[in-house]
Symmetry: D2
Subunit: 299 residues, 4 copies
């Protein structure tokens, strides 16, 4: 007769919307983040008996996230995440591992009479920078990333020579619009990193490779994008890419006697192709808990 | 005994996602819009008897929106909207008035090795440009606009001296974060306008006024923003502004022995103040149907 | 030379998420609402000079919304909205008119061993009940309503005999799926109404007419739905209906040698037809400010 | 020197919105699903060389999803998912594994004059039923589930005796509102299951346990809910639960001289506690690829 047992579990406070203003000089700085905390450990008593004596409330985790924005500062999301994770594991006895997931929203300085303003910004919606930090007794893992980077090329993309079966009606093409809303995550093998410089460099590489590669398929483009990042940064062990194919369908204008030589498209919502790939190294250390998610664990 | 009658009515095709690529030279151009069409006229037979003989299908309106992106082109949303509206009113007998509402999503050129790429773009999420065009037998109305312009200042904003009653607990402040996600719409009195130049100029003015005014309340800021636009552009008769006050609450760090001198905030979701104002001229012509909406008519 | 002036303006606190539990007996009751307040009056000083002395803060409006859920109770959203609106107009001197917009989320009692539970509920996502109350010195207006009522019929719907032009490719049909996500608002001519009974009755009528009418077009169906409500309720002067045509396109299975006799559809997202109609009485009193929106005023 | 290699990868067509009507009798039936397909195998050539000869297009996967709704039928999402997954693995040579993820939207029959209508339905928003099917050369895995089940109890919930540290300000409580929007997934150890009966039974158990347990913490409630399912269904090996704690904060009415004995709450949006737990058996077979996601793999 089988016995019912507690399996994997975790808990935390999700989506703390912390905004940090640096105002030591007349030219202020802003950091705007959405931080989620997640603790792991032996919480059998809470689950089986409702005993909370080992449970640090999620409200306390929230307070800590705000307090650390002052105490430890919030300059880069990677360092802020490390500070929080180390605190929970190091200072709270029952906590064996901590996972901190952060999104950062970028702001651009407003321009007034041609000059950047000291304390006014417009939110840039271009992409969201992400970080996921995991700390446990055996190590520390940082995953940098971005999401919602919507990128499109109006030529330089093909799709042909594919496998066909009885359900295939798609025609091959040698010139199409290719667009995606890119999610990319890159795993570091160190925490001694110039986070901002690497972030800027990785984003530039991803965009450049997307632009200049003659794409035979989104798979090939993604692989090249990931490989370029690995070639440039020894401190990155793997890149994971998820790319919804935001289909732009050539609109049929022939009933109206009009040509449409790749000029007018319908940008469709659903369904969409979803292409996902990991590019890594043959000697990459194992990822450990680096990709054990809080958000998304159960879809 | 009262008789039941048909009142105000309209119909159309909403949210056609038209993307237009100009590729006459190696340096492509892109226009990415969401266009909604709406027809008005005498459609009693359709409502009372189900007789569709005066009803141009919404599918036809969709086909026309795509066809016109080729036939008439899609360089500015104001001219594209005018072309569509004039067609429906001029060429389709039962249509007495047409309303075209358009959102435009901006794309920035990808930068490759320091230079703008010819056919790759990243979607800029900064704000959405809008246009609403109405044409009927008596005239033409164009309303330019923007929405989702999220703007924040970390100082230079006060709120004090307000009315109080038995339900007032708010404390006055002389230094707070002020942020909004601005919606602005401006009504033109002509269709002979350099739409792109005016759009750029209006956006610049709105941002500059938001930045430099010492704000005593969002109402005052909005009024100044609208007035600046009217002073600069004779061709604009009124500006309507809607500004959710995206509250940033100073986080109480005192339980942890920490000062918080306007440094750490919680960016709250709901509820939010909602401040709406119209700035106009004493001799402005009446708006006519300029603000008779399709989207939003019934909330 | 024209002078710049302040036009129409209003302000309030939007989306207060008030939940009221009645627990006087072991069988609790729940009301779950999203209430937005909006004040109108002479607020020139605030706009032109930043003088807040006539401005009741939006924070105070929020406090009042929560306090009134206790003081005045929250049994029906119509009465709760009336109480709030009357208070702002009657008790706060500078306020000339108040607009209260409310959404109510329904909860169904959880069933435990075949019986309804006393204090556990599951949120029913079927539709959102709405109310909009406006009070000014000259009267009181209540608009009841619902939104997000997603309804579908798999036969009994046609579309043929429509107007055609050069851009028409649509084929007529005599059997299609018709679906919409209905928005309906009905204007009362009294405030002495059994709000819950009328709401239940109107919803039943709307659903029944949608189901049983052989639809020749969505226009005809909407008109019949509205007329049925007016026939049944003298206390209602007009019904406004907004119906996105949630297109279900018959999927072409012929390439695979399969028939598809109205069996397999693609439920498309965008674009969608949008049909809007008002059904009223020839002797209906004018609507006054009943439909002067807060949410949606500027789209 | 390390070599760059392709790691884990997969691709498919996400969010096909298939609607299937059964109309063999005057009383129609409807199935409304959102189905995503995902293929795994050796796709090195596509990634490294852009060679698509082993790649079945995502468009073909879409066609197959619609065709199978007719050919194989769509009565339960579990059987439909199995049919699709078996087809891709069995009939398409390069495919080594297939993952099918499905959401099902429930419709309730419209009631006309007290009787259920034959072909009109209202969409029930109560919860979304889910299924995830994985087939590879070594076996078949089915995970049933639900999401968006929003459930609330207005008493019978406590939170006290928790761990405290320097950042803890939360006060213990013995009577609070507890609410969540539940996600649950249960892994079957067989495919010979009456899917609809088990789904109905599991949902009933989850709701009943939530209602009747005196909750000392969400962790304890979740564990009891999962354990109840395992006790009732031998065919289920584990239950995974993810529960955002939808905080309802007691509103402070004391400034207004009003008591608030658990009557008036603010339903807050963010942040929220997020509690996740797995309840399983000590002799459960390993999950294999049952929880290797398509949607959500990269968050």
């Amino acid at each position: 007769m089988s016995e019912i047992i507690l399996g994997k579990n975790q808990y935390g406070k999700a989506e703390n919307r912390v905004v940090r203003i640096y105002r030591d000089t007349p030219r202020h700085e802003i950091r705007d983040v959405n931080v989620s905390t997640c603790l792991r450990g032996d919480f059998h008593a809470a689950h089986l008996a409702g005993d909370q004596s080992d449970v640090l409330p999620t409200d306390t985790q929230k307070q800590t996230a705000y307090a650390y924005a002052k105490e430890e500062g919030l300059r880069t999301i990677e360092d802020y995440g490390l500070a929080l994770a180390r605190h929970f594991v190091g200072d709270v006895a029952p906590v064996e591992a901590a996972r901190i997931e952060i999104e950062e929203y970028a702001w651009q300085r407003a321009v007034v009479e041609g000059r950047e303003h000291d304390y006014t910004w417009i939110r840039s919606g271009q992409e969201v920078r992400t970080a996921a930090v995991t700390v446990d007794g055996s190590g520390e893992w940082v995953v940098g990333g971005l999401k919602d980077l919507t990128i499109l090329k109006s030529t330089g993309s093909e799709f042909s020579g594919f496998l066909t079966d009885d359900y295939t009606v798609l025609e091959p093409t040698h010139d199409r619009v290719m667009a995606t809303s890119l999610v990319a995550q890159w795993r570091f093998t160190s925490t001694d990193v110039d986070w901002d410089a690497v972030y800027a460099g990785v984003k530039t590489l991803l965009v450049e490779r997307f632009a200049v590669i003659q794409s035979l398929a989104l798979q090939q483009t993604l692989y090249e994008m990931g490989a370029a990042v690995l070639r440039a940064y020894d401190v990155i062990a793997e890149v994971r890419l998820s790319a919804p194919n935001k289909h732009h369908f050539l609109y049929d204008l022939s009933p109206f006697g009009l040509d449409n030589e790749n000029e007018v498209y319908n940008a469709d919502d659903r369904p969409y192709g979803l292409i996902q790939a990991t590019v890594t190294r043959d000697d990459a250390p194992p990822p450990g808990p680096a990709f054990d998610l809080q958000q998304g664990w159960l879809g």
